[in-house]
Symmetry: C2
C-alpha cells in the first residue's frame, strides 16, 4: 500500500454550501489557485447541476487551474453526470464524483427508492461517468449509518462498473474513531478490486479529524476535508488539522505523508475566511491566532523562552509568522502588482486597477500596509470582480448620543448618479438606509461582522455583511480605515451581488455527502 | 466501575489564561453560576497564587456557588498549596489540584529538577494538600510525553500520599486517541489504590475531544474540558462536544453518562463568548450557529422537512432555538428583573439599575428586545461591575469620505466631568482618540470585533475591544444600536479596566497542565 495520503479539498463544494456563503466565479478561482499552490491532490470545485453559477465556476477552475485533479459532484442521473462532465472535461486531470444515499432513512425519506433501485442507479450512474473519464469516485451517502452488507454490495457494484475511488462519508457526523476505522478496514477486506478508499467525515460531535485519521490508520489513502473545517452544519474535517496531525505524528501513522506545502496553510486559511466571511476562532488548532504560544501578530519578539516545552509545531511550518510590512504610500503600481504576484495573488485588468486605487487611498491614511492588509484589499476587489451596478462616490455621516444619526450617499449607476439620504438607529443603520434609498434594493441584514485586519489603532476595518433581499442571500465585504465607510462598501457589494443573483435561476437545495 | 463521567470545567483557569482574556471577579462569578446551573461536577475556579485577582475570584466563587466541587490549581510548593486552600476553604465541596511536570523536557528546561526531586515534591505537596481536605487531585504535567514508568511511579506516590483523583494531561496536544486510551488503561492497571482517573487534553492537532473520549472508553471517569474549547493555544477539549458525544453515542460508550443539563449548553457558550470576547466560529460543533441545518435564529419556521436525515442532535436539546422575544419599551423595572431572574442572570444594586437604564435607552430605539439582547446588556454591565472611574455623558461624531472624521466626548470622572475632541483615520478612531484625550489613558487596540446580537437591521451592535496600555491588557465590551457609540462604550470599559489593573500586582506567567 502506498504511503501517500491524498488530500481531497471540498471547501468549494461542501464548504461553499454553508449558509450565507456565496462565492462568485472570481472568488472560487482565487481559492482554487491557492489550493493548487498549497499542494492539495484533488479540488472538488462544485456541483454543476445545482446552478449556472456552480457550473461556470467548475468550468473556469477546470480550465485555469493546473496541478490537482479537478472534480465535480453529481447524483446518479444522466443529466447530472453529463453536466458534471461538461464542466470538468477541460481539466488537466478531470474526475467525476457520483453519489447516492445508502442508509435506510435517506433511501426512504429522501430518495424514496428500494435497495434494488439504488443498486440500479449506481450501476447506471458509475458506468455513465466511466464512459467519460477513467477517474471516477463513488460515495454512498450517509455511509456510516448504512447497513454494512448492503453498502458493501453497492460499493462492489461501483468498482465493478468503473469507480476508482470509494469515498465513505460520515454524512451526519455520527461516527467515533475506533468504529469508523473498523468500517474502513471491513470495506477494504470485503470489496474486491483496485480502488482507493477515502473518508469524508462531518464534525457534529467534534470527531471529524479523529475519524478521518482512524480511517487512514485502517488503510484509507484519500481524506476529504475543507479549509477551516467549513461545510454543512458543524463542517467537515479541517484540512489543516489532518495535514499537521499526519506530519507531526508520522511516527504513529506508520510513515504516511501528504503532498501539502504546510507553510501555505495560514494564508489559505486567511483567504478562505475573508472570501467566505466566516471568521476563524482564536483557539482554532493550527490556523487560529492563538494556536502558537507566542501570540503571532501581537508580540513579534515575545516568543517564550522554551518554545518546545509547550509547542509541538513550529509556527513558521504553517506560515503563521507575524505579517511583514511590505508597502507604503510611496509604492508605485508596478511594486504593488509585483508584491501581489509574490504573495501569489493574481489580479488583472479592472480588478487590478481598482485594487491599486483602493491601495493608494488607504496608504495615504496609513503609514504602512502589511501583507494581511493587501490580502484584505484584494479580497474586497475579488468580491466585486464581476460587473457591479453601483459604486460609491461619496458618503457623509453624522451621529452621536444626542442627535439622530443621518447619512447621505452618492453612487454611480452605470453612467449616471443616484443619491439617498436617511436617518437610522445608528450611523451604520443610517448609511444602509441611505444606500437602500439610492438603489431601491432593501432587505434584512442577517449578519454583520467587523474585524481589524491587523493590530493597532490604525488597522483597517474589515466588514462583512450578510444581506437577505427578496429571497436572495449575498454577503459583501468592505475594507477601509473607517468602519462606517467599510460598512457602506460591504453593504453596497452585497447589493451588487443581490442584483446579479436576481438575474439567475436559483440553486437547488441538495446537500450531498 | 461507575457509569458517571464527571465533568470538570476549566474555563475559568486554563480558558482564562488565553491571551487578551481578563475576567474580573463579577464576570467569573457569573460564569461559575452558569456552570453550576449547567450541572458540571467540578469548577476549576483559578490559580490563586498567580495574582490577587485570581485569588479573590476563587474565594468569591467558593463562597457563593453551591452544587459543584470548587477547586483551585497549585504547584507543589507549600506557599502555593496554602494559598489555594485559603481560597477554596469556604466552598461547600473544596478540592485542591496539585500539579508538577514529569516529562524530561519540562523537568530539565522548566523545573530544573531531577526525577528524585520531582518525586519528593509530589510526596510533600500532595500530603500538604491532603492535610487540608480529603479531595485532592494530582496532575503530572506533560503526562503524554513523560516516561510511562516514571509517571506511574509518581502517580503511585500521589495516591499513597492522599490524592483521590489522578488527572493525565496531554499538555501539548500531542496524543492520538488509540495511544492515549492505552496510556489511561495502563495507568489503571499499574497504579494501585482507590482513585478516579481524569483526562486533560489540548487540541493542537484537533484531537482533544477524541483523546478524552478514548480515555473514557479506557476507564477515565472525569474529563477536564472548557466551554467553547477555550484554553492555552488551540485550547482544551470542548465541554459541549464531550457531553453531546457521550449523550448521542451512549450505545457506543457503554452507557456512561454525565450530569450536564444539555439544554443550558447554548446559553453557557454565549455567556462565555460575550465575557471573554472570544467569538465562536459559525461551524463550531454543537454551539456554532450553523451546527443545526435549520439555521437557528434566522428562519424560525424554516426547519428542513426531514430533520433526522441530516441531524443527529435536536437543536432544543442543547438550547439552540431561536431566541424568543421577551421585552419591549413598555416593560417596567419589575418585569425586567423578573425576566433576568428567569434567564438565570442575577444582577443586584447598581449593576441592576445601570442595566435597566441601558435597557430603557435601547428599548426606546428598538421595538422589541430578545433574550440574546438582554444577555448582551447584562454582559456589558458585568464588565463594568466593579467601580469604574469614567462613564459616558455624550458623544458627537461626524465623518465620511470627504471630511476628516472628528469626535467629541464628554465623560464623568467621579463627581466631575472631562471632555475631549479629536480627529482620526475613521470615526471610531476619532472617538477612541477623543476618549484617550479626555482620560489621559492611551494604548494600542489589539483587537476590535463587532457583531450584531440578533439578526435584522435593527439589531444591537455588540463591540469588543482589546486594549493594551502601559503593558496592561484589558478587553471592554459595549452594546448600542449605533456601532460607533458601542465602540466608544467598549473602549471606555477597557480604559476603566486598565485603570483598575494598574493598581494591582501583575499575574505570574505560569502555564499549568
Amino acid at each position: 500500500m502506498t504511503n501517500q495520503v491524498k488530500i481531497f479539498d471540498t471547501t468549494l463544494r461542501d464548504g461553499e454550501q454553508s449558509p450565507g456563503i456565496s462565492l462568485d466565479v472570481a472568488e472560487k478561482l482565487e481559492i482554487a489557485e491557492q489550493l493548487a499552490r498549497l499542494g492539495v491532490d484533488i479540488i472538488e470545485a462544485g456541483f454543476p447541476i445545482a446552478s449556472i453559477g456552480d457550473f461556470e465556476a467548475v468550468e473556469a477552475i477546470a480550465r485555469a487551474v493546473r496541478g490537482p485533479v479537478i472534480t465535480a459532484l453529481s447524483r446518479t442521473g444522466f443529466q447530472d453526470i453529463d453536466r458534471a462532465w461538461e464542466a470538468v472535461r477541460d481539466a488537466e486531470h478531470p474526475r467525476i464524483h457520483v453519489f447516492i444515499a445508502t442508509s435506510l432513512i435517506h433511501m426512504k425519506k429522501k430518495l424514496r427508492m428500494t435497495e434494488d433501485q439504488v443498486k440500479a442507479e449506481v450501476v447506471a450512474g458509475v458506468s455513465r461517468a466511466r464512459s467519460y473519464t477513467g477517474d471516477v469516485e463513488f460515495s454512498p451517502e450517509d455511509g456510516s449509518r448504512s447497513d454494512v452488507d448492503f453498502m458493501c454490495d453497492v460499493l462492489q457494484l461501483a468498482v465493478d462498473n468503473g469507480a476508482t475511488t470509494l469515498n465513505i462519508p460520515d454524512t451526519v457526523g455520527y461516527g467515533v474513531p475506533e468504529e469508523f476505522g473498523h468500517l474502513i478496514a471491513h470495506i477494504i477486506d470485503t470489496v474486491a478490486g483496485d480502488y482507493v478508499v477515502s473518508t469524508h467525515c462531518h464534525n457534529d460531535l467534534g470527531l471529524a479529524v479523529a475519524n478521518s485519521l482512524a480511517g487512514v490508520q485502517a488503510g484509507a489513502r484519500q481524506v476529504e476535508c475543507a479549509v477551516n473545517g467549513l461545510g454543512e452544519r458543524a463542517g467537515n474535517a479541517a484540512l489543516e488539522e489532518i495535514v499537521m496531525a499526519i506530519k507531526t505524528r508520522r511516527d504513529y501513522f506508520g510513515g504516511v505523508e501528504t503532498g501539502v506545502r504546510t507553510e501555505e496553510l495560514a494564508r489559505t486559511s486567511r483567504l478562505v475566511s475573508r472570501l467566505t466571511g466566516y471568521p476563524v476562532q482564536y483557539n482554532k488548532a493550527v490556523v487560529g491566532r492563538n494556536a502558537f504560544a507566542h501570540e503571532a501578530g501581537i508580540h513579534q519578539h515575545g516568543v517564550l523562552e522554551d518554545r518546545e516545552t509547550y509547542e509541538i509545531i513550529d509556527a513558521s511550518t504553517v506560515g503563521q509568522e507575524a505579517a511583514q510590512i511590505v508597502m507604503g504610500k510611496h509604492s508605485g503600481r508596478h511594486a504593488f502588482s509585483d508584491t501581489l504576484e509574490k504573495m501569489g495573488l493574481h489580479l488583472q485588468g479592472d480588478a487590478l486597477n481598482q485594487a491599486f486605487i483602493r491601495f493608494k487611498e488607504l496608504a495615504d491614511r496609513k503609514v504602512q500596509l502589511t501583507e494581511a492588509d493587501l490580502e484584505a484589499i484584494v479580497a474586497e476587489e475579488l468580491g466585486t470582480g464581476a460587473v457591479h451596478r453601483y459604486s460609491m462616490v461619496s458618503l457623509d455621516v453624522h451621529g452621536g448620543t444626542q442627535a439622530t444619526p443621518i447619512a447621505t450617499v452618492v453612487l454611480t449607476e452605470g453612467e449616471g448618479k443616484v443619491d439617498g439620504e436617511a436617518e437610522g438607529n445608528g450611523m451604520i443603520d443610517a448609511v444602509i438606509a441611505a444606500i437602500a434609498k439610492a438603489t431601491g434594493v432593501s432587505g434584512t441584514v442577517l449578519d454583520f461582522k467587523v474585524s481589524s485586519v491587523t493590530g493597532g489603532g490604525d488597522a483597517l476595518g474589515d466588514v462583512i455583511i450578510q444581506l437577505e433581499s427578496d429571497g436572495y442571500r449575498a454577503s459583501g465585504r468592505g475594507v477601509a480605515t473607517d468602519v462606517v465607510e467599510a460598512s457602506a462598501r460591504a453593504y453596497l457589494n452585497a447589493v451588487n451581488k443581490v442584483v446579479r443573483l436576481r438575474d439567475r435561476p436559483r440553486r437547488e437545495r441538495t446537500v450531498g455527502p
